[in-house]
Symmetry: C2
Amino acid sequence: MNGAESLVRTLVAGNVNVCFANPGTSEMHFVAALDRVDGMRCVLGLFEGIVTGAADGYYRMTGTPASTLLHLGPGLANGLANLHNAKKANSGIVNIVGQHAVYHIEYNAPLTSDIEGLARPMSAWVKTSPDAKSVARDGAEAINQARRGKIATLILPADTAWNEADGIAQVPADKQQAGYAADAVEQAAKILRTGAPTLLLMTGGALTDKGLALAAQIAGKTGCKVMGQTYNPKMARGRGRYSIDRIPYVIESALPILKDFKHIILVEANDPVAFFAYPNKPSMLKPDGCDVHRMTAGGDNSVAALEALAGAVGAKASDAKPQTLVELNKPTGALTHASIAQAIAIAIPENAIVVDESVTTGRGFFPPTAAAAPHDWLQNMGGSIGFSTPVSTGAAIGCPDRKVICMVGDGSAMYTLQSLWTQAREKLDVVTIVFANRIYQILRGEFDGVGAGQPGTRAMDMLTLDRPNLDWVALAKGMGVEAVSVATVDDFNKALSDAIKTKGPRVIEVVMTA
Amino acid sequence: MNGAESLVRTLVAGNVNVCFANPGTSEMHFVAALDRVDGMRCVLGLFEGIVTGAADGYYRMTGTPASTLLHLGPGLANGLANLHNAKKANSGIVNIVGQHAVYHIEYNAPLTSDIEGLARPMSAWVKTSPDAKSVARDGAEAINQARRGKIATLILPADTAWNEADGIAQVPADKQQAGYAADAVEQAAKILRTGAPTLLLMTGGALTDKGLALAAQIAGKTGCKVMGQTYNPKMARGRGRYSIDRIPYVIESALPILKDFKHIILVEANDPVAFFAYPNKPSMLKPDGCDVHRMTAGGDNSVAALEALAGAVGAKASDAKPQTLVELNKPTGALTHASIAQAIAIAIPENAIVVDESVTTGRGFFPPTAAAAPHDWLQNMGGSIGFSTPVSTGAAIGCPDRKVICMVGDGSAMYTLQSLWTQAREKLDVVTIVFANRIYQILRGEFDGVGAGQPGTRAMDMLTLDRPNLDWVALAKGMGVEAVSVATVDDFNKALSDAIKTKGPRVIEVVMTA
């Protein structure tokens, strides 16, 4: 058994059963091993950003790491932006990058680069296997890291893949049951008992059905407010679930919401900070004199901590207050942000996975979709656009029985449009809704936000995606995905209904004129 | 004048007149400055790999650096693969990357990452401007570096862009006239005078019309052999120019060609090394006992050195031996690698720029195109695929009066297909010929080459681009570029002829069945 096969067998033994790949010469022995080892589904992406983003989506939906397979430094480089997003989502990935044979590196062939240097900014763990006999053991350690929600980059020189190995490595037992710090919960309970204006700011593992239900009880009992971060890796939403607001992206909207809190209790969440800096606006969104307390961090068991907190403050199921949801009415008339939101809320099927990169178009999607059928809502954690179509791809691989609805602006979709081909090849059940406003609309707002005045002709050319307009029906067709373009809300309703009914990938281009 | 404007004005004063851009919030003040400063053409790319690759192509064709404008760490990350290729081509780029405002970095907002760490592997020079008053001076130094063929990464925190600056910086005078080491030329002459079997291995600035003509005289006079590297940034080719072979990519083909040389004289070239390592094959391609001598390196004036060398060995224009070129006949019948090569050789118009990422399909293109009309031939120097459509974009911006012919395999074209949109928006005169063999054919060969045996079903799934086939006519249409698909050589002849006659971007999909 060579090093590559020892690695593939170690991965499978460690329940890493999916490999998202865009291999090259130095990875051919890994690819060859796939034919000899059962239990690994290998999924080709035609660009590395698809590969890493899919691994992010897979982890978010299954809690289990996938591996990648990338070709040398430039292959890794192409995958880094979505590794960045995955890292910020605490998504574990066994990120495998081929390297030249150890003895070949000194010759500085064209593809030679500093792979470890490239990997470090987006990885928690980086290791180059020194020889074939180390590969399985290093792979096991990478699995161990990835299971804890880390990006573990394992660099695999070609000769360590083709030379003889010792066999598979002992894979550590699945990750330990996570815990939480009891004193942090006690501290949170003490704050809540004071009755001072307090925000429970939640993300990560707290945003499950159960975590949200516990938060509802705690809020009902203590009068605290519960919110989610602006962006969250996965949030259980829809009818029957406790609906919470998120901190608004726009600073001017966030500040008034936060201004009266005396305490913020963080449940996995980060401090509430502005996404960007703006002249004469604060970076930290909490008001002066507001104390921030961390109850749990990423990797903790936040649901157990919330259960303990509910117990400590004496909150029971009956304390949860009923919520009034937005009424859903099938929209007619013009295609507006509001009618689009209603149409989507009505269309979301039970147990759907909604991947949200709708940016400006989707700023009003949250209230109506709280009244939709129960679903999970995934967002971009690292802010690097082009996350949603790859994450949708990986989510669909991880959850083949659930409909994936990817909502994406045209600007964002262009970064990683190659996802559509993988969705076609793997027959994934993903509806991609492209909001074609033909502008980086968020930047039009940010231009004002940073005090740059009114954009003139040359500046506007850098913000617009028109001249020519992109044709998403053609782009989808080019990658083997059926598509339709809609310009009225009636057509959008019909397209959504058709796409939800039918299994397999679809694209709906929504041509925005407002 | 704020920092951003001081930088844009410094760039223009330093003859950096084109900015390839994909900006975000932190770059809005730079974008705003474009409206206030004349003399900068700003070109939008819908993915950062387009931006950096275009800057590479622009430098190769004009010898003048362009700037980029990239958004934070992930924006830089998306551009790194083509920065890698540019670095290996010795293409100078003023690579401008936005950063959060200095005071905002500590808050670890979602887009925060180690930008300097990401930049270093692909840059010769990296600097984060500390304040607005430093920006112009740092920009001038970046120009200075880029003029010497270096990737100079200037990181621009948002507050250094919006705060008040002191004005533009003194830009150093254009780069000094390059020289060469006279003793290295004398050493080369001494070797050539011995009559021992010697290879003059050339790349970079040596491969101009004049450099090649001098090499022809030296070869005629001394009996040495002249070859190019396997890959070269730009080579003058076509009728009336001295036609040289390149060292073959495949090791088994390269070794017999090199085996009898006692000396290799490097004219900017690197040592002849294998592109990849393979089990039981050498990394160094020169035979044992062959001495390697460097005559010039990147940045030297190789044409002047060749002139001196010709003088030293007494070579005159009349020493150049006439060459027999392949006969060009308009091909008919089946679409084969050979007939495609003939069709392209006939179609290349006078003074065309040919960008070659045809990979396996194009391995036989060199001999017939030596008989084509005079043209320049650009290749991938870093081996990261997806280089050709962005480099073609930048070459067309740099040389608006020359037809650009981009030849690219379908696998490679998918990495950076967003180039087509920029070509449409800027109305660039680029014909992109996509060879649709629906497989990473090179990897099929490499699979054998590394001794991985015969690929089974799962391995073949990682090598093929079929199920579904890509439709390049639709993909091009989706980005506003007219396209045609051909499956016969007659249709290919006609499509080429139409595309050459018409100004503006075109795509020709060549469906390969052999």
